[in-house]
Amino acid sequence: MDVTLKLYASLGTYLPDHAHKNEAVVSVDDGINVEALIDQYQVPRKECHLVLVNGVFKAPGQRSQTVLKAGDAVAVWPPVAGG
């Protein structure tokens, strides 16, 4: 199935080559969870501070429990802030 992986700020370097505007549609195994997706693209877990699935925050403890479905969007940031 396909999901959208979005990696921002310093994590952009872990995106696959076909990524455009910090996001890429990627093919993954059915039943994959958020943590496994992050691992698959070798994004260091400790740098994954803010993880949103379809815009909703997933705490570190929830990531391996959150199973993705086709069309989901996973967006990840290192520690950032502004205002």
Binding site: L52, N54, A81, G82, G83
Partner: protein
């Protein structure tokens, strides 16, 4: 110490300069800067005064840590009654002006009256002079800065000035120091213009003494270590700046778009921090040149940008081809998402003009977006706009609007009223996305519930810098809360409001609080100042300031009914994203907030609360 214990009072009507001792009893109650200057202002003006009359006063105030070795210790605030809101105004700025003013030996400058003719002020330590400004009246902030330095043959001066917009009393005009740092909100620049005061140039050669130098150095070094080792203040902010929020807030479904009609902007990536880092397709160069720090800052979040010389906004205008202050998140949102414009170069140019002419880009952009909605509905036409096709998404229209508003010419005069007065004039005040007359910043409160309460109760009108619950609700600092929940938000908002008021009174930047708590700040204040400054005492000072500001606003005519949001946010559900189908739950949060504050059900501080806080 920390304080010089010395105030400069200038009556512009009489041309008099007086030196007064700082009221140290008040300094112990209100610390400095925002709190202490508000105490002075409230003690000296009629709350019902016309903000643009000579009877209004304005105060430039530093905190006890301004000009010291504390990280970010370069802040000053301008406190006055604001013309945009008719409420208390307190606009905070960085750069180098605040520290230089402190080096000249002053804690505060109180300006009274109105000069008969345009003047500018020079403060060189104890030498304080008013000068004829007729040659620079009608010119920009940037020209004024250069002209004064040349005239006085001193490139080391630091200058705070207004542009033409301030002279012509555009109601959200700013005071800009060091070319592109601003006391931006609530129209403090218009108050300066109403006093016929063009600029204040400062040069100081004195230091700032602290109570216990050895302890102070250790406390400030400890604080800097915390900032350096924190991933946000040590890496995220210096590299990406505040603009990194563009994609975060959009993804979270809280990006006000097209005057808050939508909560997600399809062009957000094109105007984001990531886009500023990427080579442009047009010339292969990046929009962002480097980051920049204000005085004493070890974070350095500021953006320095350069516009593509062939972009339509600056083509054949070499005066805008240099590097200057680039887009911060709030400006990029207001000028971009909220107008539906995804042209990064155009937004950078418009931001340059806001700096050059001294205008708040948040209120300017939000007012243009409201005008675009009026145009979309046929309530404004090209007859009103002088031929500008004011469509959402039109970078050309935005560029024309900023050039006109900066000079308060043509349709720019109407835009200069701010969105509430503009929308009221054209029969749709409900389309003004404001609280107490001030335009919203960059967070839609249907997707971040706590920000609805923050905006509704802010003493200076809609503002994110009075209680930045985004930090907790989205970014997880200091701990994550659910942005869609209303439960727990009244206490969160109150805690942020009180702590921020204390930080704003110390002379440091609120961005330190992404890493610091009051446990980090209080030891620095305590080593600098007499008084036994603990975190608890700072929270008490913050709560006292909040209630004092509230009482001023009530005496100025505001009531609990003004703690409200535009109907769109309370009745039109978000269309997309995690908040789809939701409105802001202000009615669930406000009663509990009043209770936690020790206010009546109508939002009035009780005598018991005022007595407890010694307001």
């Amino acid at each position: 110490m920390g304080w010089h214990r010395k105030i400069l009072r200038i009556n512009l009507s009489k041309g008099t300069v007086d030196v007064e001792p700082l009221n140290m009893e008040w300094a112990q109650q209100y610390l400095g800067q925002r709190g202490l200057a508000s105490k002075y202002l409230i003690n000296e003006i009629d709350p019902k005064v016309d903000p643009l009359s000579p009877d209004n006063k304005m105060i430039f105030a530093t905190g006890p840590l301004t000009g010291t070795a504390a990280s970010t210790g370069g802040r000053y605030s301008v406190i006055t009654k604001g013309p945009l809101t008719n409420a208390i105004a307190c606009s905070n700025s960085g750069g180098y002006w605040g520290a230089e003013f402190k080096f000249a030996g002053w804690d505060m400058l109180i300006l009274e009256g109105k000069a008969e003719k345009p003047v500018y002020l020079t403060i060189m330590d104890d030498k304080v002079e008013l000068h004829d400004a007729s040659e620079i009246w009608g010119t920009t902030v940037w020209h004024t800065d250069d002209w004064i330095k040349t005239k006085h043959q001193d490139p080391m001066m630091h200058i705070a000035a207004i542009g033409v917009s301030g002279e012509k009393e555009v109601l959200y005009s700013a005071i800009v120091n060091d070319l592109h740092r601003a006391a931006g909100r609530s129209g403090v620049g218009a108050v300066m213009g109403s006093k016929n005061l063009k600029a204040i140039a400062v040069r100081g050669t004195q230091g700032v003494a602290v109570k216990d130098g050895k302890t102070f150095l250790k406390a400030t070094m400890d604080g800097k270590k915390v900032l350096a080792e924190n991933a946000v203040t040590g890496q995220g902010l210096p590299t990406y700046g505040t603009q990194v929020l563009m994609n975060v807030i959009n993804e979270a479904g809280a990006m006000p778009t097209r005057n808050h009609r939508d909560v997600q902007f399809e062009g957000s990536h094109d105007i984001s921090a990531e886009a500023m880092h990427e080579p442009r397709k047009t010339d292969g160069k990046k929009n962002l040149l480097t980051n920049q720090a204000c005085f004493g800052c070890t974070i350095a979040c500021g953006r320095i940008s350069k516009i593509d010389e062939n972009h339509f906004s600056v083509k054949n205008k070499p005066e805008y081809w240099h590097a200057s202050g680039g887009l911060e998140y709030e400006a990029a949102w207001a000028l971009g998402s909220n107008t539906g414009i995804d042209d990064l170069e155009a937004l950078t140019y418009v931001n340059f003009i806001c700096n050059e002419q001294g205008m708040d880009p948040i209120s300017f952009g939000a007012t243009v977006s409201a005008a675009m909605e009026l145009y979309d509905l046929g309530l404004l036409t090209t007859e009103h706009t002088g031929g500008i096709e004011l469509k959402f998404g039109s970078a050309e229209a935005l560029v024309k609007c900023v050039e006109l508003t900066g000079k308060a010419e043509g349709f720019g005069k109407e835009l200069g009223m701010g969105s509430l007065r503009l929308c009221t004039k054209y029969g749709r005040p409900d389309l003004s996305m404001t609280v107490k007359g001030q335009e919203f910043p960059a967070y839609d409160s249907r997707g971040i519930q706590g920000m609805g309460l923050t905006y509704a109760t802010s003493n200076r009108g809609a503002c994110h810098l009075r209680s930045y619950t985004v930090s907790s609700e989205i970014l997880g600092i200091p701990e994550k809360t659910d942005p869609l929940a209303t439960e727990g938000k009244p206490a969160l908002v109150k805690a942020f409001q009180d702590a921020t008021a204390a930080v704003d009174s110390a002379g440091i930047c609120v961005f330190t609080t992404f890493a610091w708590t009051l446990e980090d700040i209080a030891p620095q204040v305590d080593a600098a100042c007499e008084g036994g400054w603990t975190p608890d005492r700072m929270m008490e000072v913050g709560e006292r300031i909040w209630n004092m500001e509230r009482m001023f606003n009530m005496q100025a005519g505001f009531t609990g009914k003004d703690d409200n949001l535009p109907p769109r946010l309370l009745s039109e559900p978000a269309k997309t994203g995690p908040a789809e189908g939701r409105v802001n739950g202000l009615e669930k949060m406000l009663p509990e907030y009043y209770q936690l504050r020790g206010w009546t059900a109508d939002g009035v501080p009780t005598n018991e609360t005022l007595s407890r806080l010694a307001v």
